[in-house]
Structures are given as structure tokens and as C-alpha cells.
């Protein structure tokens, strides 16, 4: 079992009203000096069996087809820390 993480972010040129709202709240809470906030999504996929190159390629396909919309979003795929069964960090 392996954990694969897919991070999805709006492309830099796409307006992120949610991130803007979060950024706008920061000075009200007394936090200064944060010039921008972008909000994204993180998916943690528990992959059964050995994580082969083919399985990783499948995860990329999942990310491209369903988890992200390539028109407005970019994604990155990386191995997650720890294991789904709770072992590891």
C-alpha cells in the first residue's frame, strides 16, 4: 500500500476569489505581510499493492481526467509520507 498525493492549484492567471477572501481576513486577525494567498486542493490516494511506474501513470491519468480541470488548474503528483496502514511518519 502506498500513499500518492495529488495537489491541484488554479493556474496562476486564474483569479482565486477564495484565496483573496482568506488574504483579506489576515490583517483583521493581526497578521501582516502576507501579500497573496492561493487556495488549492490536496487529494491523498491509497494505492493497493506495489507502486509501479504503471500505477503512477494511472494516478496521473486520474489527476488529469477527474481531479483537475486542465483549462483552469495545474496538478502535481508526489509520494506521500507514511503509509495508509498507519506505519511510517
Amino acid at each position: 500500500m502506498a500513499r500518492v498525493v495529488v495537489d491541484v492549484m488554479l493556474k496562476p492567471e486564474i483569479l482565486d476569489p477564495q484565496g483573496k477572501a482568506v488574504q483579506g481576513a489576515l490583517p483583521r486577525l493581526g497578521f501582516e505581510g502576507i501579500s497573496d494567498v492561493r487556495q488549492g486542493k490536496r487529494f491523498e490516494l491509497e494505492v493497493d499493492g506495489e507502486l509501479t511506474d504503471q500505477r503512477l501513470a494511472e494516478v496521473r491519468e486520474i489527476a488529469e481526467k477527474l481531479l483537475s480541470n486542465p483549462v483552469i488548474e495545474d496538478f502535481t503528483v508526489h509520494l506521500g509520507a507514511g503509509h495508509a496502514d498507519g506505519t511510517g511518519a
Binding site: 488554479l10 486564474i14 483569479l15 476569489p17 477564495q18 477527474l66 480541470n69 483549462v71 483552469i72
Partner: protein, 221 residues
Amino acid sequence: MKVGVVTFPGSLDDVDARRAVVLAGHEAVALWHGDHDLRGVDAVILPGGFSYGDYLRCGAISRFSPVMTEVVAAAERGMPVLGICNGFQVLCESHLLPGALIRNNHQKFVCRDQRLRVENNKTAWTSSYDEGAEITVVLKNGEGSYVADEATLDLLEGEGRVVVRYLDVNPNGSLRDIAGISNERGNVVGLMPHPEHAVEDLCGPGTDGLGFFASLLAPVG
């Protein structure tokens, strides 16, 4: 004509869409998201609402429902398909239309009577309007800001595929005030405003929306 209206889990405006279809003189056929069958309809409407709870992205999960396989195939054969609001989002996620709908730039849900200009009356869904007709229909959305890259926007404008444009106010930050677009062939149209809520004088801002449904009978071009 037999006009199918798809109900997804979370669709809200399927009943209003069927009502508009009947008022325009057609037979309305209820279609279910889990069906692999379009029941012999001549056209399909994807209604407004919050299909699959807007989980992941609006329309992203609906796109993979069994009925959408049939809708996409029929659309590619030339069947008229209209996506309203959430239906527009489904059409974009299905790649039947270019671009995407993102959260309103002002972060709030908007609900208003919206003036629009019909820029293209040569589509299957707008042929009963005069070119340049100014109409008022209901607009209600939280994620209705139309975005696409500059090249796509230029292509849409150049080919006359901006079907309706916002007048007076841009209610959600849509690029170039775009309220609705069509595919190249003009049989697939998606728009954010709700013509099905403007088909009777009793409620809503009038009957300006009826033309979308009446257009199915009118000769195109």
C-alpha cells in the same frame, strides 16, 4: 419535438425546464442521470442546480454519469443540447464547450433579473430571436464566471460563438461579458442565466426566455 431534460442528483431546475419545454409547444421527457438511454428524444436540456453537490468542481462528476455518454455522442451527431447554469458547467467539463466556469469574482452568490443581448441567433436554441435582441431573464449563480484563454476567447468571438452577452452589469466577472456560448456547429449552447425561469407573466421578469425553447421549431439560419 420530444425534448429530454436530464435530472442529476442535486438538479433543481429540471421541473421548470420541462415546464418551459411544454409551454413552447414540445413534449417534455424526463431523463435520469443513471440511464444509458435518451428515450428517442430530439433534443436535450441539462438543467440548473447543484448536481452531485458541486463536489470536486461544478459539473465534474456529472460529466461521467451514464446519460452523459449518450448526450455527448448525440451532440457530436448534431442533436440540439442546451446547458443552463449547472448544465453549462457540465458541458464545459464534458469538453462539448470550451472554457470553464469559476467562482464569481465578488465571492457572493448572485440572484437578479439580468439583461442580455442575443449576439448569435443562428444556433439551434436562439433562432427565434432577432439578432441583437435585448432580453431579461433570471440569473442565479455562485460559480458563473466564464474563463478561457485569450486565444479561445478570440476564436469564440471570431466565429460568432458568443451567443449571449451580459448587458448593463457583469454579474460574476465573466471575461468579455460572456453569458453563453455555442460549439462550432451551433447545436450545443451553454449559458449561465436561466431562460426557463422567464416563460410566464405570473412570475419572473417576463417571457423573454421562452424563445430558447421555441427556437427548436424555428428554421436555423
